[in-house]
Amino acid sequence: MSDHPNNPHDEMIHLPAPSAAPIVVAAGMTLALTGLLFPTLLVVGVTLLAIGIGMWAFGSR
């Protein structure tokens, strides 16, 4: 094992930022699907899903 030569000691490591989009999308998907049985949840679920997808899309620019 050795250090990779194209990876100098002073490199900056870039990692993705934390995001609330996944939890919002998951909540939206879950409520939308459960809303097939309980219609009031459908409205909440689809709304959350749209918000989550928006956060995901615009947060990634």
Binding site: M12, P18, P22, A27
Partner: protein, 548 residues
């Protein structure tokens, strides 16, 4: 990569803190911890349901449940243990360990990874919400066979919630599988070709392909069941459709699911045995090919669950043969693991004890499975307690022992402190004894004709002593799990530092600190062999020898 992403100098650690940081995390290690913790909570719930089942069956006559309560509880126990404990806990271990093992900084799609976790959690909550709908949780077992699960016999909304929760969990699994495949195929450290990849990572790769191919079948079947129940379609009706079609679709997912549950546990064993035997793994390539063979053959055995549904004789012969053939790659692995230990300098710490427990218990489960591949035997033992004993030897004696081997092996890396060895060994022996007391008598009960899923049995059948023994065993298993919880709490308070590489292991996850920094490695290592850390230690030894 997102432009909003934080950048870290290669030597600085910047760990976010607080509840919000956990809700918004996209770090594979934190997501792995969330998976493991959530799955463990579901283990406690599913285990509590198992204790209720065993308490009810300890003696003839109704003990503490009604028949309908019993039916709900054993269905929820099975669904919980398979979909909410075993599979997700292995996903959690994979999430934490795989990027570290291959020298990557994270999974390929970190946000998709977080989405998979949250869907898993919410899917579990949907399943458990079925307890509060008016007609209660589903009383259809974990298999949801038709016509029992149809609207006529199970009008409860709980069945719909069960189906919806499994669809959500399927979406979570599928996203996770895509992420694992992409990560493993594209993000390995320089020099790590497929034949230098750790065996746990190999097992996760093959499992991910199985999940990707099998899960849509179950999702489709569940959607059809929901349509039958709510929209008037008749896919599975006896009049216009075919109830046996459900069994085909269900088992096309659920038999591969057995391998989805066992392959990563086998991967854990392939990591633990060489480290604690102080030897290289015996037959690395044979284990890899066996894993691939199990992954492929796993799709050709589903109808052995359906030998009593009057399949055409040619199909029966095919499924008998394929079920026997799949024992061959499994046997190859067994020999390789045993030969890894032979001649080794065995270090009998808790991970190795659990690995040996896995080998011996899974062997019993595997052999009883081959018995069931034989048609006349299968027809005798079908739907008896023999099958319950067999499946628990595979999924508990195999997978759960493998999970504990993995937890004891990797927790020092994840937490940075070690679990108490004495408590670990105590847990192992109590669990081993309790497990065998619970599930071995079930084979005899099955041969004596006791049907599975029954709420009660008459005293005159002579099944009481064996059932009572099984109940004592179940409470011993509960004691063992309690000891694990105590061990975790006590060790977390003591915080005895684990060090970066407490086991003198071979793979890259041990090359970074315990716990690893958010970016995993200050510099991405380059790999030259299957055992990069052994190489590094060997190089150090040679340097020291040269100096002297």
């Amino acid at each position: 990569m997102a432009t909003t992403a934080p950048s870290y100098p290669a030597t600085a650690a910047a760990e976010p803190r607080g509840l919000v940081s956990w809700l918004t995390t996209v770090d594979h290690k934190r997501i792995g911890v969330l998976y493991i913790a959530t799955a463990f909570v579901f283990l406690l719930l599913g285990g509590f349901l198992a204790l209720l089942i065993r308490a009810e069956l300890a003696l003839p006559g109704a003990q503490l449940l009604t028949d309908q309560q019993y039916n709900r509880i054993f269905g929820m126990h099975g669904t919980t243990m398979i979909f909410l404990f075993v599979i997700p806990l292995l996903v959690g271990l994979g999430n934490y360990i795989v990027p570290l093992q291959i020298g990557a900084r994270d999974m390929a799609f970190p946000r998709l990874n977080a989405l998979s976790y949250w869907l898993y959690l919410f899917g579990g909550l949907v399943l458990y919400s079925s307890w509060v709908v008016p007609e209660g949780a589903p009383a259809i077992g974990w298999t949801g066979y038709l016509p029992l699960a149809g609207g006529q016999f199970s009008p409860s909304r709980g069945v719909d919630l069960w189906a919806i929760s499994l669809i959500i969990l399927g979406a979570s699994s599928t996203m996770g599988a895509v992420n694992f495949i992409t990560t493993i195929l594209n993000m390995r450290a320089p020099g790590m070709d497929l034949w230098k990849m750790p065996l746990f990572t190999w097992s996760v790769l093959v499992t991910a392909f199985m999940v990707l191919l099998a899960t849509p079948m179950l999702t489709g079947a569940l959607a059809m069941q929901l349509a039958d129940r709510n929209l008037g379609t008749q896919f599975f009706s006896a009049q216009a459709g075919d109830p046996v079609l459900w069994q085909h679709l269900f088992w096309f997912y659920s038999h591969p699911a057995v391998y989805i549950m066992i392959l990563p546990a086998m991967g854990v064993i392939s990591e633990v045995l060489p480290v604690f035997s102080r030897k290289p793994i015996f037959g690395y390539s044979a284990i890899v090919w066996s894993t691939i063979a199990i992954g492929v053959l796993g799709f050709s055995t589903w109808a052995h669950h359906m030998f009593t549904t009057a399949l055409p004789p040619l199909l029966e012969a095919f499924f008998v043969l394929s079920t026997m053939i799949i024992a061959v790659p499994t046997g190859v692995k067994m020999f390789n693991w045993i030969f890894t230990m032979i001649g080794g300098s065995l270090k009998l710490d808790t991970p190795l004890l659990y690995a040996i427990g896995f080998l011996s218990m899974f062997l019993i489960g595997g052999i009883s499975g081959v018995f069931q591949a034989i048609l006349p035997i299968d027809r005798q033992v079908h739907d008896t307690y023999w099958v319950v004993g067999h499946l628990h030897y595979v999924l508990f004696g195999g997978t759960v022992f493998g999970i504990f081997a993995g937890l004891f092996y990797w927790l020092p890396k994840i937490a940075g402190w070690r679990l108490d060895e004495k408590l670990g060994k105590t847990q192992f022996w109590i669990q081993l004894v309790g497990f065998n007391l619970t599930f071995f008598p079930m084979h005899i009960l099955g041969l004596l004709g006791m049907p599975r899923r029954y709420f009660d049995y008459p005293a005159s059948r002579g099944w009481t002593e064996l059932n009572f023994t099984a109940t004592i065993g179940a409470f011993l298993v509960a004691l063992a799990v309690t000891i694990f919880v105590v061990n975790f709490v006590v060790s977390a308070r003591r915080r005895i530092p684990a060090g970066d590489d407490p086991w003198e292991a071979n793979t890259l996850e041990w090359a970074t600190s315990s716990p690893p920094p958010v970016y995993n490695f200050p510099r991405i290592p380059e790999v030259h062999s299957l055992r990069p850390l052994w190489d590094a230690r060997q190089a150090l030894r040679e340097q020291e020898a040269a100096r002297q």
